[in-house]
């Protein structure tokens, strides 16, 4: 398929409105396979304006007698307005943008064509292999090993090639435990908390089913987790579903660990919202923020109605619970929900941020995102296919990663000196997760990235962000390393709506 087939009109005269602060831009509008360009013409002093088509979330077109207006709502919540000369041209351009912005194919996406100056392909892809984190763990404890049982992604398609597992469990047992877990996501190490010697482990739900099946290797694996921490150690299983939802899951083959089968482990249920309801909460939040006609009173009612802050509170307090269990109770923690690719990762990554000073550095945080989200198999392509504006919604979208970023922002607000990075990095990650010239957030798993050769054919976002010029902008100037755990307050009065990026851009700019 050629992009040119989708481009009905390549060029037109247009005026662009970008918001209340920026002046309108006039010039020639061009459409390419991946971008929308506006060239202000040779005399103009302003620069070329460029928009990645992938970041367009929804398009609205309106025509007048001899011109058309296109409103582009972007995935990063920007709203742009284009006034295009000629009714035909504007309709054609709108249709072309619609088609080009929703292309499914990964290997024809822009990251595979993006070749920025000053970056070498494959540079940063070596920053964060699983081996690297294992080296750190190996320095702290001898109880864990790096297993390559998933070398060809056959044991678990959503895990990376190498995972960290208890030393005493062999690869065969791992493979059998994988068959007992949804999607093959057997328990693997997420974080080793050196001061207490405890570990954070994550997996998916066990496939106990209505017959309450058991799996000796899975039980063995979790026993080894406790033994590795210290003899007699105990553990908590933090299930991110309600106990009722977990019971219901048995009907469809899932379920929870039976108490008798896993001595030393105690199950806690902390329901976290996920999937469709979370996406709807996000959509309602953005709607409420965009509606400026309401009074202060109905604003608070709508903020309450969308429940977003309640989700932030729940996510943070569950992560705190896991962290508290490790640091204060000296217990091992296993986190899982159903698939173990969404709220599970939310909890494990936040818990690490609370406990681990290294993960609060610029490099450490990038490593955390890479390890606990990208390599851990958070299906970015499915979850971030559309943002809050799109009408064409499939049921896979969910802003779990945005919720994570929001929670990190709340931590940063309560500990303004303890994170090395500022809000800028969080905003950049939000933007790039939804649409990016870099390959980092492409695909749903390591397996897919391997098939698409993402690592060799695209640039990594990390090398883009770590250029000295970019890095400076993302740093928190107040950073002072804090070697302690940072326990946030999850009381309502302590949480705030993150206004950083999205909201100011929603302000209207006079109907001109």
């Amino acid at each position: 398929m050629e992009f040119s087939d989708l481009i009905r009109t390549g060029r037109a005269q247009a005026k662009l409105l970008r918001g209340p602060e920026a002046p309108p831009l006039r010039g020639t509008l061009c459409l390419t396979g991946h971008h929308l360009l506006l060239s202000p013409g040779p005399q103009a002093t302003s620069e070329l304006w460029l928009l990645l088509l992938r970041s367009v979330d929804s398009i609205e077109k309106r025509v007048a007698s001899d011109s058309g207006t296109i409103t582009l709502r972007c995935k990063d919540l920007r709203v742009l307005q284009l006034e295009i000369e000629g009714v035909e041209a504007s309709l054609d351009i709108a249709r072309s943008i619609e088609a080009l912005s929703s292309l499914e194919s990964v290997i024809t996406s822009f990251p595979f064509f993006y070749r920025p100056k000053g970056l070498r392909l494959g540079d940063a892809w070596h920053f964060h292999p699983p081996e690297r984190y294992y080296k750190r763990v190996a320095r702290e404890t001898n109880a864990w090993r790096l297993s390559e049982v998933n070398e060809d992604f056959s044991v678990c398609p959503s895990y990376p090639r190498a995972v960290i597992v208890p030393r005493s469990v062999d690869d065969g047992a791992l493979a059998r435990s994988a068959r007992f877990r949804q999607g093959g996501r057997f328990p693997v190490l997420s974080y080793h908390h050196a001061p207490s010697g405890t570990v954070l482990v994550r997996s998916s739900q066990p496939l106990t089913g209505p017959q309450k099946r058991r799996c000796a290797e899975d039980e063995e694996l979790l026993r080894a987790v406790l033994l590795g921490a210290r003899p007699g150690a105990r553990g908590f299983i933090v299930d991110t579903r309600s106990s009722q939802a977990a019971k219901q899951a048995r009907m469809t083959g899932g379920g929870t660990e039976a108490k008798a089968a896993y001595p030393g482990w105690k199950r806690l249920h902390r329901p976290l919202e996920r999937g469709q309801p979370l996406q709807e909460s996000f959509v309602r939040l953005v709607e409420a923020c965009g509606d400026l006609q309401q009074s202060t009173d109905s604003w608070l009612r709508r903020l309450e109605g969308c429940c977003w802050l309640a989700h932030v509170k729940e996510a943070l307090s569950t992560a705190c619970l896991a962290a508290q269990g490790m640091e204060r109770e000296g217990a091992c923690i296993l986190v899982h929900g159903a698939e173990g690719t969404d709220s599970t990762l939310l909890v494990t990554s936040l818990a690490q941020l609370i406990l681990d000073p290294l993960s609060r550095t610029m490099a450490g945080f990038q490593e955390l995102v890479e390890r606990e989200w990208i390599q851990a198999g958070h299906p970015f392509q499915l979850r971030c296919a559309h943002s809050a504006f799109s009408h064409a919604r499939s049921k896979h979208e969910a802003p779990t990663f945005l919720l994570f970023l929001d929670c990190v922002w709340q931590l940063g607000r309560q500990f303004p000196l303890s994170l090395e990075f500022g809000e800028g990095l969080l905003l950049a990650l939000f933007e790039h997760a939804y649409a990016s010239p870099f390959g980092t957030f492409l695909c749903n798993s390591e397996k897919e990235r391997c098939l698409c050769e993402v690592r060799t054919r695209t640039h990594s976002l990390w090398s883009g962000l770590n250029q000295p010029k970019e890095r400076r902008k993302l740093r928190n100037p107040l950073y002072a390393p804090n070697p302690l755990a940072i326990w946030p307050s999850v009381e309502l009065q302590s949480l705030r709506l993150w206004q950083g990026d999205p909201l100011p851009q929603l302000l209207p700019w006079g109907a001109s």
């Binding site: 202060t296 002072a480 302690l484």
Partner: protein, 675 residues
């Protein structure tokens, strides 16, 4: 039960005027956030304070509450553990005590009811408070803020405005000051005539003069217009205000009340200006609710703050139903309207409400703050409160219940103004010379009655009481400790912070936020755990010290070089100043403990996480008492750890751990973690 406090308590000398007090042992102070924790200690009642001293031998933490801060005392049903007593304070502190014996509880309750409701001014704390300053220092303190200087700064008197002595000896209006600026063309006859046509004779007088374009903000009370009454002198008075601004052919008359309220007033012979009777006025209603609505709104919001583990939706619903932020927005909108009229349109504005001492004061001061950068400085802000609130007869005594009086007169009028300032600070972080703590301390002292500034209902009453001879000035006290109140981000040279502050013109709902720093300020656990302000101030201070050190060393080097030249002898290299360690690890005492994220954990019979230092917000240690302000816990921020920075000498390298390290386990862990 009766004791002589001097013997029992480690007594700071300033509280010398202590009577025989009440002492109750084995009282428990309940933590609001997690009710499981309670500190055991002894409760003392003195002539001025309620004091709770913890038994824990290593801390002996103390909580001091001034009687004048007590808003309500509630005796709750006796439980098995004892008799609970709930004390709500005007500075939003909430104290829940459990007293073992019902009889003791009753005694404390009865004593406090009496102590918290003084009937004579002489009973108030400021008449016994003695900061050990001599007479001269006291007088100088009162001279720090001088309103005649302030009018001079505005550029007055000039061709259009003059100082009027019409209110000498409070002859015309007893709630106005004696020194007032009026238009030059307004004769005494006009002023007196106008005053007779205004509620409580509060005639139009100048509040702020904008020298760039001669526009001004004037204030008054409502006219006694009823349904049809007119007053020639009042019409002339408004005409005179118009004439004092040659750049405009009309003035705005802003009635800050909702239109309905103003119309209702007409039936009582009061009301608002009829545009037909006055030449060249444009009349405008703003719609700020009255003091009763505001009192109830605050009450509702505080109830929300007090909820025990509410859901997010309870909280947001409650906040919204209280209407508090809507009222704040209404006041801000009024201020913005006036600031715009004055600075952009160049039109003078006359502001009034009913009596012209509540909403009018709020609106005039918000507008002045937006217009003039001077009011956004430390001293300028004191001047602003002195001018628009104290001198123009805001009824501090009635509104803040300093003396026992009509509870219907109480209303958080100045609290709302202070919150407006905070909301502005959030939007313009570099525009204010002072920080949040400054606002919180002013709010505290409006209720504390520790200083004389806010006593009584008018200038006249204060003069009769000889306040300046018998009490001390808060402004001097704040000025002395100004280092604590500086905003390190303040930049007066930035384009956004010079001149008039411009708020976004588009309606925006998320501009106004819940101020947990004020309403939950005693719940330290809820506040950000690290203070950027303190950190930046410490950095600034250290930079300055290093700068001084560098200069001293350079000087020395110069001398040495001279000596070397003279002797042409090679000397050993001067030793470099010792390494400066960064601020990094000293944040350790920010260590905090996890709150109860779940009750589930207790299923293991394990040690409960120590939550020790979360309490320190409520608790003042003796050390802190010795610092400037006994009743302000914000001064005694033990947790922030940033305080410790300032006491490090710049070249100190590794310094001793902070003082409180002995007290909480977390600091020990800090050592453990870094090791």
């Amino acid at each position: 039960m009766v004791f002589s406090l001097r013997k029992h308590s480690p007594q700071p000398e300033k509280y010398t005027l202590l009577l025989e007090g009440v002492k109750v042992e084995n009282v428990r102070l309940v933590d609001r956030i997690s009710s499981k924790k309670a500190a055991l200690g002894t409760l003392y009642l003195t002539a001025t304070h309620v004091i709770f001293v913890e038994n824990a031998p290593d801390t002996r933490k103390e909580t001091w509450i001034l009687h004048s801060q007590i808003s309500t005392i509630e005796k709750q049903a006796t439980a098995a553990t004892g008799c609970p007593l709930l004390i709500r304070c005007k500075n939003f502190q909430l104290l829940q005590l459990i007293i073992p014996q019902e009889r003791d509880c009753h005694d404390v309750y009865i004593s406090l009811i009496r102590l918290a409701r003084p009937v004579k001014y002489e009973e108030l704390y400021c008449f016994s408070f003695n900061p050990k300053l001599d007479k001269e220092e006291r007088e100088q303190g009162w001279m720090l803020i001088d309103l005649s200087e302030e009018y001079k700064r505005m550029g007055l008197p000039n061709n259009y405005w003059q100082l009027s002595d019409v209110n000498r000896d409070y002859r015309v209006c007893d709630s106005y000051p004696t020194e007032l600026y009026v238009p030059k063309s307004a004769t005494a006859h006009i002023i007196v005539g106008s005053s007779k046509f205004r509620s409580r004779r509060r005639f139009p007088a100048l509040s702020y003069y904008y020298r760039d374009n001669h526009a001004s903000i004037c204030r008054s009370s409502q006219p006694l217009s009823g349904f049809s009454a007119r007053c020639l002198e009042d019409e002339q008075m408004l005409q005179a205000i118009r004439k004092a601004n040659p750049g405009s052919d009309f003035i705005y008359v802003v009635d800050t009340r909702p239109k309905l309220n103003a119309m209702a007033n007409r039936a009582a012979g009061k009301g608002y200006e009829n545009e037909d009777n006055y030449s060249n006025i444009k009349f405008q209603f703003i719609g700020i609710e009255n003091i009763h609505v505001m009192r109830n709104s605050l009450q509702k919001m505080l109830e929300v703050c007090e909820l025990k583990s509410p859901s997010m939706s309870d909280f947001l619903w409650g906040l919204e139903n209280s209407g508090w932020l809507r009222h704040i927005k209404a006041i801000m909108d009024a201020g913005i309207f006036i600031a715009k009229a004055v600075s952009e349109e160049g039109v003078s504005v006359l502001v009034h409400c009913s009596d012209g001492w509540d909403r009018t004061a709020q609106v005039c001061s918000v507008a002045s703050l937006l217009l003039d950068p001077h009011y956004r400085t430390l001293k300028g802000f004191m001047v602003l409160i002195e001018k628009d609130w104290i001198s123009f007869g805001h009824k501090f005594n009635h509104r803040y219940g300093n003396l026992d009086g009509d509870p219907k007169e109480i209303s958080p009028v100045i609290d709302q103004f202070i919150e407006c300032v905070w909301q502005l600070m959030e939007q313009f972080p570099c525009a204010f010379e002072f920080n949040e703590r400054f606002l919180i301390h002013i709010q505290h002292h409006i209720y504390s009655c520790q200083f004389g500034n806010f006593l009584c209902n008018s200038q006249k009453e204060r003069q009769e009481l000889k306040i300046q001879e018998r009490t001390y000035s808060l402004w001097a006290h704040l000025w002395k400790n100004r280092a604590d109140y500086m905003n390190p981000l303040f930049r007066d040279d930035h384009s956004q912070t010079r001149g008039t502050l411009r708020l976004p013109t588009t309606p925006c709902n998320f501009l106004y936020k819940f101020w947990s720093g004020m309403y939950n300020r005693f719940e330290k656990g809820l506040q950000p755990r690290q203070s950027v302000t303190d950190y930046l101030m410490a950095v600034k201070e250290e930079t300055q010290q290093l700068e001084e050190e560098r200069e001293a060393l350079e000087e020395r080097l110069e001398k040495i070089q001279k000596v070397q030249l003279n002797h042409t002898k090679v000397k050993a290299k001067q030793s470099e100043p010792s390494k400066h360690s960064g601020f990094s690890t000293s944040d350790n005492s920010t260590a905090n403990t996890p709150q109860d994220y779940s009750g589930n954990m207790k299923s293991f019979p394990s040690r409960s996480p120590s939550q020790g230092d979360e309490d320190s917000a409520l608790i003042l240690t003796q050390d802190n008492l010795k610092s400037s302000d006994p009743d302000l816990s914000a001064n005694s921020d033990q947790e922030s750890g940033v305080e410790d920075l300032s006491c490090r000498s710049p070249s100190g390298g590794e310094c001793a751990p902070s003082e409180d390290s002995g007290k909480d386990r977390d600091s020990d862990e800090a050592v453990f973690l870094t090791a």
